[in-house]
């Protein structure tokens, strides 16, 4: 298998070209957006809950590399039907296993962007724990 085929394996290209759960939900119970400062990937995720904080619907929009967008698409399939708490505590390895390709540290950030954003959305609406790398550290400058 060539290096290209290893990284951009068929399922990745499929999710990239035909993303699942694409588009934001309206109405939704929680929304969050995030960027990967390293390469500028962007993802917005919206969530709707059913009974018992079960994720009934999830939708995303984004712009970025194949890995970031395909990983978010795969993530949305993975989390539907689980509770907010379960997803908040979901180890990143579960998503990485699903993606199933060798990732360098830089590309790892691309792959995990969607999961981080989703956990922020869950945190906002359900107070679930944030992943460590998405703490409150950022802060911002805003000008009129």
């Amino acid at each position: 298998m060539s290096e290209f085929e290893q990284l951009y394996r068929e399922v990745i290209l499929d999710h990239y070209k035909t993303p699942r759960n694409h588009g934001l939900l309206d109405p939704s119970d929680a929304v969050a957006e995030g960027q990967n400062p390293l390469c500028g990937d962007e993802v917005t995720v919206s969530v709707r809950f059913g009974e018992g904080d079960v994720i009934e619907g999830v939708g995303f929009e984004g712009r970025g590399c194949a890995i970031s967008q395909a990983a978010t698409s795969m993530l949305t399939d993975l989390v539907k039907g689980r509770t907010a708490q379960e997803v908040a505590l979901m180890p990143k390895e579960e998503l990485l296993d699903e993606i199933g390709i060798p990732l360098s540290p830089v590309r790892l950030k691309c792959a995990l962007l969607g999961l981080g954003v989703l956990k922020v959305a869950l945190h906002r609406s359900k107070g679930t724990p944030l992943p460590e790398e998405w703490g409150t550290s950022s802060g911002y400058i805003s000008v009129e």
Binding site: G135, S137, I141
Partner: protein, 414 residues
């Protein structure tokens, strides 16, 4: 005189690591007794930096190509090394800076401007290096906070009975203290000051530039809030230092430098900041220097900080005993048990610059001056001192050469 130190270190083997000792001055290696100012570099550090530049160098964090990954791994590996060295709870709390000085400026500006105001008090010590003095004096004056100091006694040790008066005077917000005095070698009771600072509701900022090369540092055991250190004082390259800070404080602080790398997203009307530690690392960092810093920590850790500390203590005891023999030499600072490997002294009737000049002709490098501690010099009633300081490659024979050199100084100018 018979050399009476039973060193804990195999200094002969260690000295072979240092290329500067191969260069002879008047047929002998330089007696380099200025390690408190900056240390010499072992081959292991130089080789590591060279290998990094030759085989692993690219800009960090951004590149997708494999060479950039290796560079990033080198840089981030150095961060992990610093975190382990300080027993930091998380490597995210370790920020690479240009120097210990820049680390303290970062806290003074980013924390100080945000948290200090009229009615607040900043407390420093009379022993402080200007690096942990002037930034606080400046920020106190900018914010309207008062600026007070913990005085020292005649032996150069902090007068802790002054703490109660300070506490009564005003609302103390920050205590800035060096772990080891660069001028006198005094080891300050930082655990005690930490407890006191926290009782006042203040944060404590520890300047460990002079301590980290010589004794084990454990930020969790110290209980401090920020700690600054530099690489060049522990066998690493200059141009790089580090700041450790408590995560919750770092997260609440505004950035110090702004630009690339420290952002998450930038727009014309709004910019959001990157996560720790990158929020405080704007611009391309000193990459190979960070790798060299890590290699230096590995080097001294392998020798062992406790062994280095014992070795320096033995040398200090020896040097103080030998200088004691000279009636016309006056030493400053506490007894050897409470000082690091630094001996500051005055030769009667001879200005320290002249002392250092004559010693240089004898192939002995010492520091003469105020050592960036002018308030301390004023307290001691001298304009300057001569300072001999030791490191792992220092040997008793160099102390003997210093004493012989001082006899020449006395004979020619005293």
């Amino acid at each position: 005189m018979v050399v009476s130190t039973s060193s804990s270190l195999d200094t002969a083997a260690l000295r072979a690591d240092f290329p500067f000792l191969e260069e002879l001055v008047g047929g002998r290696p330089l007696a380099y007794l200025d390690s408190a100012s900056s240390t010499q570099k072992p081959r292991q550090v130089l080789d590591r930096m060279r290998a990094f530049y030759e085989h692993e160098y690219a800009n960090v964090h951004r590149g997708v190509y494999r060479l950039a990954e290796r560079a990033t791994e080198g840089y981030e590996g150095a961060r992990r090394t610093v975190a382990t060295f300080l027993n930091a709870p998380s490597e995210r709390e370790v920020i690479f800076t240009r120097s210990a000085t820049e680390s303290i400026n970062l806290v003074a500006y980013a924390w100080g401007l945000q948290n200090l105001g009229p009615g607040d008090t900043v407390v420093i010590t009379e022993l402080e290096h200007h690096a942990n003095f002037v930034p606080w004096q400046f920020i106190a004056s900018r914010t309207g906070a008062s600026f007070r100091h913990i005085p020292i006694d005649d032996a150069g040790e902090l007068q802790l009975d002054a703490l109660d008066d300070l506490a009564r005077e005003g609302s103390i917000k920050v205590v800035a203290v060096g772990l080891v005095s660069n001028s006198l070698g005094t080891i300050n009771p930082v655990e005690r000051l930490t407890a006191w600072a926290h009782e006042q509701g203040a944060i404590i900022v520890v300047d460990a530039a002079q301590a980290a090369p010589h004794r084990t540092i454990d930020v969790q055991a110290l209980g401090c809030d920020f700690l600054a250190l530099s690489s060049h004082k522990l066998c690493g390259p200059s141009g790089i230092g580090a700041l450790w800070g408590r995560r919750e404080l770092l997260e609440a602080m505004a950035p110090f430098n702004l630009g690339g790398e420290m952002i998450r997203s930038v727009g014309l009307d709004r910019t959001t900041f990157n996560e720790l530690p990158y929020k405080f690392e704007a611009g391309t960092p000193a990459i190979a220097e960070a790798v060299g810093f890590g290699a230096a920590i590995d080097y001294i850790s392998e020798i062992g900080l406790p062994a280095i500390e014992r070795h320096e203590h033995e040398l200090t005891v020896y040097a103080m005993a030998r200088l004691e023999e000279l009636a016309w030499v006056r030493m400053f600072g506490p007894p050897a048990e409470r000082r690091a490997g630094i001996v500051s002294f005055d030769v009667e009737g001879v200005h320290p610059h002249d002392v250092a000049q004559i010693l240089d002709w004898e192939g002995i490098a010492v520091r003469a001056g105020h050592h960036c501690t002018q308030p301390l010099m004023a307290r001691l009633g001298v304009a300057a001192t001569t300072r001999a300081s030791f490191y792992l490659y220092s040997i008793a024979e160099e102390v003997d050469r210093l004493v012989d050199g001082l006899h020449k100084v006395k004979k020619s100018l005293g």
